[in-house]
Structures are given as structure tokens and as C-alpha cells.
Assembly symmetry: C2
DNA sequence: TTGAAACTTGAACCAACATTCAACTTAGAA
DNA sequence: TTCTAAGTTGAATGTTGGTTCAAGTTTCAA
């Protein structure tokens, strides 16, 4: 899983200046995502990261100021990647409801390919609370905007609030955890379809 | 907030045998809930806990085998308390939809009074994964049973699955975080009503 | 009243890392 | 080719904080 780490990951004056340095930094970043995903922030060690990366312990500090700073960068990166992955998956759509389905399906697919994501973002609640909060607030805002679009387009009813976005986000996160990470007994498509119908008409008996 | 800690908290041979011991243990438990809730597992220290409790460092080990064991007990206790608090709030109900509303409202009220709960249960993902999983699996199972009851009673449609329960749980957890812990700009009643209508009829435009 | 069990105390121990650093190697511009 | 900046290395440092323990105090049943 080759990954592109974006600018926010670069700290002030620790940018690699040669091809060799760039390669080393990328190895460290990828190793760190694995290590943190597997062991969690506190159980993970710099030694473990540099061992996975195949570099010396000291090299870590050539590119990062601290363990916290690295983790923080990783959280922001993960957050950005979920976002862009979902965005890509929602290019063509005719119906706002269908679009929500696509968003969940894309998220679940991404989660299956990057099981570290839950551990890293969840642990940010403790290690980097600001990023944790920012991640969910931004995600909710994005969902809310889609809801408003949907209302304007006549697909959704009016009067939808920020809270509806939070409800949907919570639904997505938990479905992703249960059916993306803990087990794969149901496909993202199935789960997304089920969520879509819940969103469309609720679960009350008609009549 | 005086709390009752239930049996699972007692470890094999470390039960207090006198009134004095019982009192000390309870002080430690309450202090721990605060300390963990405030700082999280790793930032919290035994020293901090015993200081809050007003006991000597060594006393901690008269009642607990380790920091992990204590945390584990606390997670199970919190989980049990959320459960029983919700159960109490759902005594009288005529309609399954109304009952779900009551469950969420009770949960949010509980969360506001015990803001530690999120940090403690969330951090269990790292410190005591088995308890974390058990908490959510049991909660989902309980919701699923209510859904089946509701279908049988003719309030909910048929064909509801475990995944619906997970979706509802996720919704509740995130609404609780956003409007119970992060801000209190909306009352539990308002939020619960909003969730009820989402659950009842979804958000698609009728017609 | 008394003595053994229960409980309390906090200094000392110890292992686990995060971080530093000075010596060394490599890259690549001039 | 040469020379300096960039990068690499891993042993050593230092701190933090969980856990132990031996000496003291309190409880309470007999």
C-alpha cells in the first residue's frame, strides 16, 4: 500500500533534501502507520517503527521532532485520505440518497483496506484531541452540506439539521467498524443498501 | 456523584474485610474514574489516583493487582451502569418508537452526568479490547431485541437485522458525544425527538 | 484486654522507552 | 575530483511511573 503523505506531514525544517532522505522518510511513515495501527500509540515504540522501516533509531529524529508529532501528522493524513477517497467515489450521482449510499460504501471499502484507520483516529481522542475533534466536525459538516443539497434538489425533506448529519456519521462509523473491520460477513454494498433504506424511509411500519 | 460498584469489580482475594477497607476501596474507585476520565489511561497515574483518594500509594495494591486490572473493572462497571440506567428509563412505553426515543434520551442524560464515560469506554479499545467489544456487542444485541419486539408489536416493519441495531447504536453514540459531552446547546429531549423522527420515517421527501 | 489479621504507608526499585549526540558515511554540486 | 551539506548510526542518557516491600498502625473477635 504505497501512500502519499501530504504537506501537513512536513515539519518546518526537517524536510528531506535528497532523494535518499525522501525515501527514508516515506519508509518511516509507512512503518509508523503499521506500528500504530497494530499496537496503538503507547504500545508502539520508535524502535519498533525504525526496525520495520529498516533504518537506525536515530534516523527517526532526522525527520520528526517527536513521537507525538508523527502521530499527529498521521491522524491528519488519515483524515484527509478518508475524505478524498469518499469524494472520488461520489463523482456521478443522480439522487442524494444514492449519493449517501455511495459515501458509506466507499468508506467501508477504504476501512477494509486500511484497518489501521480506526485505531489511529480513535486514539487521537487521547493523543491529539484537537485533530480528533476536527476530523469529526469536518466530516459532519460535509455530510450536512450534502443533506442541504439533497433538500434543495427535492430528494430529502426540509428542516434537516446538523444533528441529522451527526446521526448519519455515527451510523456510518459503527457500521464500518462492525462490518468493515471486525468481520466481513456482509459486503459494503449490502450494508450501504440497508443504511440507504433506513435513511430513506425509516423503520416504522407503514400505514 | 456517589457510585455503587458492583461485584465484577472485586478481584479474587483482594476484597476488603473491614468497613475501613471497604471505604478505602470505594475512594480509590471514585478517584480512578475521575482520573481516567480526565487524563485518559496513560496520562493517569496511580500516584494521581491515590492522591485524589487521599490514601498512600501502596494502598492501591491492597485492592488492585495492577493499573490495567482497575481500568478493566471500571470499563465493565461503566458499561453495566449505562445499561441499567437506560433500562430503568424504559419502564412504561406504548410504542416501540417512543421506547427508542426514551433510550437515547436516558443515555444522553447519563452521559452529561458522567462525562468520563466516553473516555473510559473509548480507551478500552486499546487497554482492554475484549471489554470494549463486549460492551458494543451487548448493546447492539439489546437494541436488536427491542427492534424485534417492535416488529412483533406492529410498530416497526419486518426484516430488521442486526445491522440496523448497529446503525442505531452508532447514531446514539455520536449524538451523545456531540450533544451530551461536547456541548449542551440542545437538550436530550430535542435530540431524541429528532432521532425518533429519523428512525420513524427517514429523511427522504415524501411522494 | 489482647493478639493476629487487616490495613496503611512511602521510600526504593526497576524496566521501558523517548530523546540526544558525536562519530561516521554518502550524495551531488561545482 | 573534491568538499560540504545531508543523511545515518546506535550507544548512552535521563525520566517517568508502575510495582514491591518491610515496617508501622488500626480493627475487632474472642
Amino acid at each position: 500500500m504505497a501512500t502519499e503523505y501530504s504537506e501537513h506531514i512536513e515539519s518546518k525544517d526537517k524536510q528531506p533534501r535528497t532523494a535518499r532522505g525522501l525515501k527514508t522518510k516515506r519508509k518511516l511513515l509507512d512503518a509508523a502507520a503499521l506500528e500504530f495501527g497494530e499496537k496503538g500509540f503507547h504500545e508502539a515504540s520508535i524502535t519498533g517503527i525504525t526496525q520495520r522501516a529498516g533504518t537506525a533509531l536515530g534516523s527517526f529524529y532526522t525527520y520528526f521532532d517527536s513521537k507525538d508529532e508523527l502521530f499527529s501528522a498521521l491522524v491528519k493524513d488519515m483524515s484527509a485520505r478518508v475524505k478524498s477517497h469518499a469524494a472520488e467515489a461520489m463523482t456521478e450521482w443522480q439522487n442524494a440518497l444514492e449519493r449517501e449510499k455511495q459515501a458509506l460504501e466507499a468508506f467501508m471499502t477504504f476501512a477494509r483496506e486500511h484497518k489501521e484507520i480506526y485505531r489511529i483516529i480513535d486514539e487521537a481522542e487521547f493523543v491529539d484531541p484537537a485533530s480528533y475533534r476536527a476530523h469529526y466536525e469536518e466530516t459532519a459538516k460535509r455530510i450536512f452540506e450534502r443533506l442541504q443539497d439533497g433538500s434543495a434538489a427535492g430528494d430529502f425533506r426540509g428542516g434537516l439539521e446538523e444533528a441529522h448529519a451527526w446521526a448519519i456519521m455515527g451510523m456510518n462509523v459503527f457500521l464500518g467498524l462492525r462490518y468493515g473491520i471486525w468481520s466481513e460477513e456482509k459486503s459494503p454494498g449490502e450494508i450501504a443498501e440497508l443504511a440507504k433504506s433506513l435513511l430513506a424511509e425509516g423503520i416504522a411500519k407503514k400505514g
